[in-house]
C-alpha cells in the first residue's frame, strides 16, 4: 500500500489525512521548511519543527501552527510521523511517515554538508524516498564551505582595498544567514538589506548566533561605513537602492554559479558556487543511505536523474510538484513586501 499519494493539491497521506508542503489550501499541512514554495498561506492547520516555527509565523502571519521536535514521534490517524534534520536552512526537516510498518520519507529540500548554522542532515532509513534533484546532474559539485567562504572573505577584502563596497546577493532566508555566520567581522562592517535583517532578527530571537549587522537605512552610505560588505536579496542587486554605496562590486552565491553561462546571465561581478541543495554526489549519497528501493523525484533535472537512478537499480519515478528548488531567477516574495 502506498503511504503517500500525489494529488494536484500536493503530497497526501490517506492514512493520516494530511498533506506535506501542499500548494493549494488544505485542512492539515505538514511543512518541511519555511521557503515560500513549501510553506504556503491558506491552510487551516500547520505542523512544523519548533525551530522552523518563528520564520513560518514571520512569513505567514497569524496561522494555526503546531510544532514538533526533531525525532519526536506523533500519531496522526493511522500514520506515525516524525521530523528529521534536512540541513537545508535552519528548522528544515525531512518528514518520516510510517503506516503499517511501511516507511516513506519526504526530504523537502536538503543538503549533506554541515554548514555550521542549521541542524545537520541525518539520513533516515525508509522504503520509499521522495527527493528533490534541483542539481541532479554530474556537472554540479560543490567545493567545501570553508574554501568558498575563504574566497568570499578574500573578495570582500579586495573590494575594500579598492575603495569599493562589496554587495553580496543571497536569499533572505537561509543563504544570507549561512554567509553571515561565516563572514569575517574583523574585516569591516556587515550591512544588511531590510528583508535579510528581518529574518536575522527572527533567527537571533530563537538563539542562533550571528555576527553583528547594521540594517541599511536612509542615513547609511559608503561614507558612513567604508569597507563594508552588504547582504541583500538578489532582486535588490542593480536597483537604485544600491546607489548609496557608491562604487560597488557585486557577488552572487548560488549552486547555479557552477555554470559559466548562468554566471554570465546573472552578470554579477563575481559568482560564488554555494548552495543549500545537495550536489550530484550529495543526492546519490543521501539516496543510497536511506536504503530505499523506491525513489520519487520532485523537482529539478527529474527525467535525467530518474533515468540515472533506474540504471542504479532503483524503482524511480517523477512526481510533478510546484516546488521550485534553487533558482537564480525567482524573486524572493519577502522582498516585495519590504
Amino acid at each position: 500500500m502506498d503511504v503517500l499519494t500525489f494529488t494536484d493539491r500536493g503530497i497526501y497521506c490517506p492514512a493520516g489525512d494530511f498533506f506535506i508542503d501542499p500548494w493549494r489550501p488544505v485542512e492539515r499541512a505538514l511543512i518541511t521548511h519555511g521557503h515560500a514554495d513549501h510553506a504556503r498561506p491558506g491552510h487551516a492547520h500547520y505542523l512544523s519543527t519548533e525551530s522552523a516555527a518563528p520564520v513560518m509565523r514571520h512569513r505567514l502571519g497569524d496561522i494555526t501552527l503546531d510544532t514538533i521536535g526533531y525525532g519526536e514521534t506523533r500519531q496522526i490517524g493511522s500514520a506515525r510521523v516524525s521530523f528529521h534534520p534536512a540541513g537545508h536552512v535552519p528548522g528544515s526537516a525531512q518528514i518520516r511517515i510510517e503506516v503499517g510498518g511501511e516507511v516513506w520519507v519526504v526530504s523537502g529540500d536538503y543538503k549533506i554538508e554541515d554548514d555550521g548554522l542549521c541542524e545537520a542532515f541525518e539520513p533516515v532509513r525508509c522504503h520509499a524516498f521522495i527527493s528533490e534533484c534541483t542539481f541532479g546532474l554530474p556537472v554540479f559539485r560543490w567545493d567545501a564551505q570553508d574554501d568558498v567562504m575563504a574566497a568570499i572573505n578574500a573578495w570582500w577584502a579586495s573590494c575594500a582595498a579598492a575603495g569599493k563596497t562589496a554587495v553580496l546577493g543571497a536569499y533572505a532566508l537561509g543563504k544570507a544567514q549561512r554567509l553571515l555566520a561565516h563572514l569575517d567581522p574583523g574585516q569591516g562592517p556587515i550591512l544588511t538589506h531590510g528583508a535579510v535583517e528581518a529574518t536575522n532578527a527572527v533567527l537571533r530571537g530563537q538563539g542562533l548566533k550571528l555576527p553583528d549587522t547594521v540594517q541599511v537605512t536612509a542615513e547609511i552610505t559608503a561614507k558612513t561605513h567604508p569597507g563594508a560588505i552588504v547582504l541583500a536579496p538578489p532582486s535588490a542587486l542593480g536597483t537604485p537602492w544600491m546607489k548609496r554605496f557608491g562604487a560597488v562590486e557585486t557577488g552572487f552565491a548560488s549552486g547555479w554559479m557552477r555554470l559559466r553561462g548562468v554566471r554570465r546571465r546573472r552578470a554579477a561581478d563575481r559568482g560564488f558556487i554555494m548552495s543549500d541543495h545537495a550536489d550530484w554526489a550529495g543526492l546519490n549519497a543521501a539516496i543510497s543511505q536511506t536504503g530505499a528501493e523506491r525513489i520519487f523525484v520532485t523537482h529539478g533535472y527529474t527525467s535525467v536523474f530518474r533515468r540515472w537512478l533506474e540504471t542504479q537499480g532503483y524503482d524511480a519515478r517523477i512526481v510533478e510538484t510546484e516546488f521550485e528548488g534553487e533558482s537564480v531567477d525567482t524573486q524572493d516574495p519577502q522582498v516585495a513586501e519590504t
Binding site: P138, V139, L259, R260, G261, W308, E320, E324, T330
Partner: protein
Amino acid sequence: MQRFATLFTKLDQTTKTNRKVAALASYFRDAPDDDKLWTIALLSGRRPKRAVNTTRLREWGAEAAGIPLWLFEEAYPIVGDLAETIALVLPEGSGSSDRSLSEWIMELRGLAKVEEPQRKEAVLAAWAGLGPVERFVFNKLLTGGFRMGVSAKLMTRALSQATGVEETELAHRLMGDWSPDTVSFESLVLTRDPDADLSKPYPFYLAYQLDAAPDNLGAPGDWLAEHKWDGIRGQLILRGGQHYVWSRGEELMTDRFPELARAVDFLPSGTVLDGEILAWREEAPLPFNALQKRIGRKTVPKKLLAEAPVILRAYDLLEVNGTDLRSAPMATRRAQLDTLFADLPPDAPLRLSPKLSFKSWDALADIRETSRALGAEGLMLKRLTSPYGTGRKKGDWWKWKVDPLTIDAVMIYAQAGHGRRANLYTDFTFAVWKGNELVPFTKAYSGLTDKEFREITAWVRKNTLERFGPVRRVTPEHVFEIAFEGIQESPRHKSGVALRFPRMSRWRHDKPVSEANTLEDLKDMLALYG
C-alpha cells in the same frame, strides 16, 4: 598555461570592459612573444586545427568521469559547451602546468599526428595533471572555439595600450591571412607593413540600428541613402592581378564565389570594394534562401552555380590605384566608385547599389516602405562627409530596417534553454489555427525580457500536459506576437511555410487563444511576400 588560465579567469570574472582591457593589456606586456601571438590568434578566431574529434572527447570525458555516455550527453546541452562540460564532470583536480600556452598548442598539434591510443593517453594525462580552470582552457584549445567574452575590438585596444601602436593601424595589421606559423609577434604587431600582403582586407565599418525615424539626423541633404541588401557582406580585393573575397567575419571566401574572379577583367588592380554578395537573376536579387545554399560550401557544383549565380553589389570604394581611400569623405569615395563602374558591361559580376534620391525624411520613409518588394531589408544612411571607419561606431552610418512582419500565435511546446539560459524555459514552439486544430509553424527563442522568461518558466512548470524528453507540451493559453523578416514556402514544415529570423516581439496578455491568427493568414502573407 598558468598565466593564460589566470588571464582567462580575470576576463571571466568581470563584466566590465575596462577591467577586461586592463587584464589583457597587462598580459600583453608580460607574456612571452609566442604566447602573445597565440592569444591574438585565438581571440581573433584563428584557432589551431582540431586534433581530436568531439565524439572521442565526449567518450573519454565520460570515461574519465566514471559516468555513462548518455548521462554526459544529457548534461552537455544544459551546460552548453563541450569543453566546460568535460571540465565540470572530471574528478577533482588540483594540478597546474608550467608549460606555456604555445608549448601546449604545439603539443596539441602533435596529437593530430599520432595514433588514437596515444592521443587518448595524452589527453587523459593532461586532464589528470591540470587544475579546473587550466583543464577548461586546455579543452577549449582541443575543441577549437575560443570565446572569452572579448571582442576583436577590445583585444585590439588592449594590444594598443601595451604596444603603443595606434588602434586603427593595429586593427588593419591584424586583419587577413596570417597564422602564428607564418608570422612572429614582432612582424605582425610591431613592424608589419600591410602592403606586403596582397590579400589583406581592411577592417569593416559597421552601422548602428536606427530605432526611430531619422528626423534628428539633421538635413537630409547631408546623407547618402541606399537600400540595405539582404546578402552576405563582402570585401572584394583586386591586387597584383589576383582577387580575394573576405567576409565580415574575416573569412576568406574567394573559392566560394568563383563568379567574382571575372572582376579582374573589368576593374584595375589596386581596387578594393565593399558591398553585398547577392544571388542575382534578371537584374534583381534572388531571395536569401538561394544564397544560403551556397554558404558553407567550399566549392560550388555547376548546378548550383547556374541556379543561384552571384554578383557583388558595391557601395563603397576603399582603395583605388593601390591607395587607401578610407579617410576620404563618403561623397568622394562614392563618386570615384561611380566613375569606376560607369562603363561596366552587364556580364561583369558587379553592380552598383543605387543611390536613392529624396528631398525630405518623409519622402525617404515612403521609399523605405518599398524595400521588401525589392528584396531589400530596409535602408542604409551614410553621412556624406564621413570617412570609412573601423568597426561599429555611432553617428555616421545607420541601418533603418523595415518593420518586421508579425503574426499572433499560440505557444504549444516549451523547452529549457542551455548555456546562459540553462534553467529557464526559453525555446518555444508556436501554432496558428487551422479550423479547430493548432498547427505548429515556427520556433522562437528570443525577444522576451529576463523577467518575462522567468514568468513563463514558472507558468510552464505548472502547466505541463505531457513530456517528450526535454520538451513539454503546455496548455494552449498564451498568445505571442511573432515578428519575422521574411516568409518562404517550405515542404519540410507541416505548416508549409518557413520564417526568417522569427522572434517573440510581444506577449499578448490581452488576447485570448481564440483570437490568434490562422494558417490562412500565413498563406496570405506567403502569397504577398514569399
